[in-house]
Amino acid sequence: MSSARTSTNQGESGVAISVEGVTKTFDGGMVKALDNLSLAIDAGEYVSVTGPSGCGKSTLMHLLAGLDRADSGRLEVSGEDLMRMRDPNGFRRNRVGLVFQMHNLLPHLDAKSNVMVPMLGTQRSRRERSARADELLEQVGLAEFAHRRPPQMSGGERQRVAIARALANDPAVLFADEPTGSLDSRSVERVLELIEELRKQRPVTIVMVTHDKAVANTADRIIYMVDGRVVDQPVGL
């Protein structure tokens, strides 16, 4: 695995994510979640975002994933200006993949169907969707679980299905919000190995929000946050 670092150097293949002076408040401005935050992440880079609870890391991820809008500043993800974005659904469907702490799979659908759900509404034919789901489940090591529903799987297996779902439409950026937060140590290890394997197989930028220092250290680079800002050194971890 790559060792962690704290530099902000850009990779050779260009910038995947650019954030400049972004502010986000809640409760009519009473709570400032992000405070004039700036950062850049290179294409193909694996970055972890870490910091104490309430530091704004999940808010940052939601903004970058197009789930919410910033009050001010500039956000660009995979060439898309998120402040002027007209089709946030298309952006979330085609440009980014999302993995959540709670796997957030649909419990009444089997693993394969869960992986296929984001592909509904794309140009892929039914046969192509099926083949793509098989391929992804194979990649995450769950080919034999294709017809099991989430309640019939372990936490780690569910999270691997969630990763397969996030990759369904071949996103340029994969956002993971505490993906190992609800897993046992063996499952955490398996998910992290999977992320590493995926990076070898495809040129995907990975942004992972995590509390866990050991998990954060698996990234190429760690971004520390405190009180809605990026800081150079970890505080309160």
């Binding site: 799979l105 009444h108 779902r165």
Partner: protein, 372 residues
């Protein structure tokens, strides 16, 4: 997996919720179907008299509550007979009588024997009654079969023992369930000398029905001319009331059904907040989410429609056996019943699903996913 499959799967995987919603739709459909069939049956029964008489149109007294209460006179018949375009006009006097529990509303027709043939009456058994025969009647073939009567038998009617001199056939169910009397004795019995109820008018070849009808109505302000069931309400207020009651009850049934469905779908929405949030988070558009909710609702609508029609048939069978409706309610199940059921189910479900679908589409993905 396709979008259609997902819609079906969502309905199927939540069987209890889907079944309860379909039951709510079915109750609305059943109510509308039963009301429709019953009121249609009552309307058909009420207007059945128009179908007898082999006429181009029928003339009644204007503004009566029940066409059987229409009170016309022989001088008016004479006047109508002389209207331009009228070839012939036959006057009949009508009344109703309860023969027994199975025949609570038998229509009695007073008619001159010479008018029987032009009126479309064919003797199937026996002979026609005499013009002044006080104790002679003819019985329609359906009624005769029901009562087991043949020419030569006697029947208790108008409080007297009458001889059935003939059994007749008009080719019309309503007409073949009537009893016919010679006009003059019947007028005397009804204490309406010279009284008539309806005129059955035939027009000259080449004449226009609408034009002749207008001319007849213009000949006396007391008269209204009817040439179709659609126009029956012009003469019969009961018919208008039945129709109005049917429409009002249908609207109420649809509204109540929609509220039931909305209730079930709103509960289901709350239960599925997280699911909708996930779908929005992974890129589903609002339109696709609305299509999903509506698609599920439409499957439930079709199931509810089928169930409602089935329940409706059972309810109609039960109603027919009620003593107060026996012999009056003669429902016919026609294709419009199914169309009306489907339309009701779709309306009820669409109305009930509208708010939940829009609400689901407005959910913020983060807010929805935070809900358990």
């Amino acid at each position: 997996m396709s979008f259609g499959w997902l819609i079906w799967h969502n309905v199927w995987s939540k069987k209890v919720r889907s079944a309860l919603t379909a039951t709510a739709v079915a109750i609305g459909v059943m109510t509308v179907v039963v009301l429709g069939v019953v009121t249609d049956s009552l309307r058909t029964t009420a207007a059945g008299v128009l179908r007898v008489g082999a006429a181009d149109f029928t003339v009644s007294q204007k503004g009566v509550n029940d066409i059987l209460e229409s009170a016309l006179t022989e001088p008016l018949l004479d006047k109508v007979s002389h209207v331009e375009g009228v070839k012939s006009a036959i006057g009949v006097l009508l009344d109703t009588e309860k023969l027994d529990d199975a025949h609570p509303l038998v229509v009695e027709v007073g008619i001159k024997p010479e008018h029987l043939k032009p009126f479309g009456v064919q003797i199937a058994d026996g002979r026609a009654f005499g013009a002044t025969a006080e104790n002679e009647v003819m019985v329609g073939i359906h009624l005769a079969q029901d009562l087991g009567l043949r020419a030569g038998d006697t029947v208790n009617v108008t409080g007297r023992k009458m001889t059935v001199v003939g059994v007749f056939n008009t080719g019309n169910t309503f007409g073949d369930s009537t009893i016919m009397f010679p006009l003059a004795p019947f007028q005397a019995y009804e204490r309406q000398p010279g009284g008539l109820s309806l005129f059955f008018v035939k027009i000259d070849p080449g004449a226009k029905v609408a034009k002749v009808k207008t001319a007849v109505e213009d000949s006396s302000p007391l008269l209204v001319a009817i040439s179709s069931l659609m126009e029956f309400g012009r003469a019969d207020r009961s018919y208008q009331l039945i129709t109005a009651a049917d429409h009002a009850a249908t609207v109420v049934a649809i509204a109540v059904g929609a509220i039931f469905v909305m209730n079930a779908m709103v509960l289901s929405l709350v239960e599925r907040y997280r699911e909708f949030g996930i779908l929005r988070a992974i890129g589903w558009s609002r339109r696709r989410l609305i299509a999903l909710v509506f698609g599920e609702a439409m499957i439930i609508a079709f199931v509810g429609a089928a169930l409602g029609v089935g329940l409706g048939f059972v309810a109609i069978e039960v109603l027919q056996e009620l003593p107060s409706l026996k012999g009056i309610l003669k429902p016919t199940l026609e294709s419009w019943v199914f169309g009306r059921a489907l339309l009701t189910a779709v309306l009820v479900t669409a109305l009930g699903a509208l708010y939940p679908a829009l609400r689901a589409a407005q959910l913020s993905p983060q807010e929805a996913m935070r809900r358990e």
